[in-house]
């Protein structure tokens, strides 16, 4: 038969795989009606890939499928599929799926001349016809090389088979074992598949297993070229696109309380934005979990769901410890508002954590997510990977409008860890918790390093973990810096003493003033008395002289009359000189 290639300038039709994330990075699935090679080492998930491709096709896209198994028997296959939550028996009974196990024992076989694979062709054709299949999986056809003689004939026949499948317009997944890094398949069958090649990889790095998927080629289509982590669990395969979604998530203006009134006060009086991401960093024992627990408690009180990823403590331990500061999380767990997801970070690779997060978030639909602490993820991965994971996680949570709190452990006191500085740019708010050492004791302090889009306090606040929660205090700023704990108490004492002294001084001055006022008033009374006496005498003398004046005038009149002069003329002449004289 001719080479399996048909130049086609039309836009490529794609068949959705239904595998979570894969359709995103392939831009709509595998090339429809063409073969795709899925290659990978032992245990890399090739069979699961093929199974899920068929099952999703049959259940979600109405495309029935045929599974030709060259390795596993049908009971084994059914059992394995059940571990992914797929009921193959039911699909087979519904005529949506056809399973065929191809097996020949090499020991029975002798070659007596030329042969072809018509037996296989007939079986596939019959199966396809029986269920009306659009999809075929050949898992792993290269097994035939171990069973049939004459590899030359076999290669030619396999090439013919691929061409035939393409001719029939069947979307085919061909799995192949990759045993050497420089080759995709053991027997070089990749050269017959020119449309799409996907590589699965399962590697162990520092004792932690990670699965990765890469699209080696995809003719006629753009595709993501990165290595994408993926996971196989009870719900099948999930592939995680690394660069997700862009930056178009909504930005709600709703504010939610932190559960600590004075902390809300530091954040413009209203708390965090809903859907924002918050970094809580601090040294060990600085109270990160306690602050997070307050937030969780507040959210649950509002009737919101919370998802708590605990990478350090077990849920029970967290519940117990938080009870000691008066936060009882247990009822929330009981009511189904709070769900813990606890696991040691070393339990899986970084992408596994991300996938678990995705799954839990998708199924639990929380409003608040706490990851405590992200720094533990560094144990299983590099800073670069953690950052990339957090980027995806933050983006994912933001699109769901979930408020996320990430705690981060700072190793030393004071200077920021590189990881923190690196991760912080992803975060909307950053609270730094610090242990401050003064006078032989460690005290806790908190400040808001940043909080995008809201006014926030620039103050460092000391806080206490009391029997009923976290209490923020004012911090005393002394000449040597922030005063906390005993130093603060003694400073308070000193200030009180100084205050008393000042008050006493003030009272003393007040009394002196009183005294002076009294003296002044007494003097005023005396002066007034003196003045009154003087006034009386002066008044007296004035009235006396007035009287004297009148008498004088009368006397003068009498004198004139008595001299009997010309009264009118006299008066004229007489009065004038008097006036002049005066």
């Amino acid at each position: 038969m001719k080479k399996a290639r048909q130049p086609n300038s039309k836009t490529l039709q794609k068949a959705l795989t239904g595998i979570q994330g894969l359709d995103e990075i392939t831009g709509g699935g595998l090339p429809s009606g063409r073969p795709t090679l899925v290659s990978g080492g032992a245990g890399s998930g090739k069979t699961m890939f093929g199974l899920e491709f068929l099952v999703r096709g049959a259940t979600q896209y109405g495309e029935h499928g045929v599974f030709m198994s060259f390795e596993e028997t049908i009971p084994d296959l059914t059992k394995n599929a059940a571990s992914l939550g797929f009921d193959l028996n039911e699909l087979v009974a519904d005529k949506k799926l056809f399973l065929d196990h191809v097996h020949i024992s090499r020991s029975e076989i002798a070659e007596t001349g030329e042969y072809d694979l018509d037996g296989l062709f007939i079986r596939i054709a019959d199966a396809v016809q029986r269920v009306g299949a659009k999809r075929v999986v050949l898992d792993t056809i290269e097994a035939l090389f171990a069973e049939l003689p004459n590899p030359g004939i076999l290669r030619a026949e396999i090439r013919r088979l691929f061409g035939w499948l393409k001719e029939k317009g069947l979307t085919t997944v061909i799995t192949a074992e990759r045993d050497r890094p420089d080759k995709l398949t053991r027997h070089g069958i990749e050269e017959f598949v020119s449309d799409c090649v996907i590589l699965l990889d399962h590697r162990i790095l520092e004792e932690i297993s990670t699965r990765r998927l890469r699209i080696v080629k995809y003719r006629g289509s753009t595709h993501g070229t990165n290595e994408y982590p993926f996971l196989i669990d009870e719900q099948g395969i999930s592939v995680l696109p690394i660069s997700s979604l862009g930056l178009d998530h909504p930005a709600p203006a709703i504010r939610i309380s932190t559960g600590i009134a004075r902390l809300d006060g530091m954040l413009g009086g209203k708390g965090f934005y809903r859907g924002s991401s918050i970094l809580l960093s601090g040294t060990s024992g600085a109270g990160k979990t306690s602050v997070a627990a307050h937030f969780v408690d507040a959210a649950c009180r509002r009737g919101e769901r919370c998802l708590y990823f605990a990478f350090e403590e077990s849920p029970r331990q967290i519940v117990r410890n938080m009870r000691s500061i008066g936060i009882d999380l247990e009822p929330w767990v009981g009511k189904g508002l709070l769900q813990f997801q606890a696991a040691r970070p070393t339990y899986g690779g970084i992408e596994q954590h991300l996938l678990v997060t995705h799954k839990c978030v998708s199924s639990f639909k929380p409003s608040v997510v706490v990851v405590d602490p992200i720094t533990n993820l560094l144990m299983v991965s590099t800073l670069h990977e953690v950052r990339s994971m957090l980027t995806r996680m933050v983006d994912f949570l933001k699109t769901q409008q979930i408020t996320a709190i990430f705690t981060s452990l700072t190793a030393g006191s004071g200077s920021l860890e590189a990881s923190e500085a690196d991760v912080s740019s992803l975060m909307d708010s950053w609270l730094q918790l610090k242990s401050i050492e003064v006078g032989g004791e460690l005290n806790r302090a908190l400040y808001v390093l940043k909080s995008r889009g809201m006014e926030h306090s620039n103050q460092i606040r000391e806080f206490l973990l009391t029997n009923d929660g976290l209490r923020l205090l004012d911090v005393y700023l002394g000449p040597e810096g922030v005063l906390t704990g005993a130093a603060r108490v003694s400073q308070e004492g000193r200030e009180k003493a100084a205050g008393t002294f000042r008050r006493q001084q003030m009272e003393g001055r007040g009394r002196e003033l009183d005294r002076k006022r009294q003296i002044f008033e007494a003097r005023m009374v005396a002066l007034r008395a003196e003045f009154e006496v003087e006034e009386e005498t002066i008044q007296q003398s004035i009235s006396e002289s007035k009287l004297l004046d009148e008498e004088l005038l009368q006397d003068r009149g009498q004198m004139v009359r008595s001299r009997e002069a010309d009264a009118s003329a006299y008066t004229k002449e007489g009065s004038a000189p008097v006036a002049r004289r005066r």
Binding site: I104, E111, G113, D118, G119
Partner: protein, 100 residues
């Protein structure tokens, strides 16, 4: 040519072919000749065309065509190919002790 056993067993043979391809036809011709020459009446040969009987192909695990299955005498043997290599056919049918 080999000495038949004292109580020569009857051979039960099934030849699976597909349609009437050249290879299949050749296999039928070749096999019949072998049987005539070496089994001389002590055989029962059934030629099965799987073209319309895919279930048979499945049940007997036929992948390559033509395939000859020697059901009896035991052990069961499968011979693949157009039966043009006489030595291999005889060896495969236990009619010859070693390949020449």
């Amino acid at each position: 040519m080999k000495k038949p056993r004292k109580h020569p067993a009857t051979f039960v043979l099934r030849l699976y072919i597909s349609d009437s391809t050249v290879k299949s036809e050749r296999a039928v011709v070749n096999l019949k000749r072998v049987c005539e020459e070496h089994l001389n009446g002590r055989y029962h040969l059934e030629v099965i065309d799987i073209h319309k009987q895919a279930n048979l192909a499945r049940d007997e695990q036929i992948v390559a065509v033509p395939t000859l299955i020697k059901q009896l005498p035991l052990p069961l043997r499968r011979l693949v190919g157009d039966m043009s290599d006489l030595n291999k056919v005889l060896f495969g049918l236990d009619l010859r002790m070693q390949e020449q």
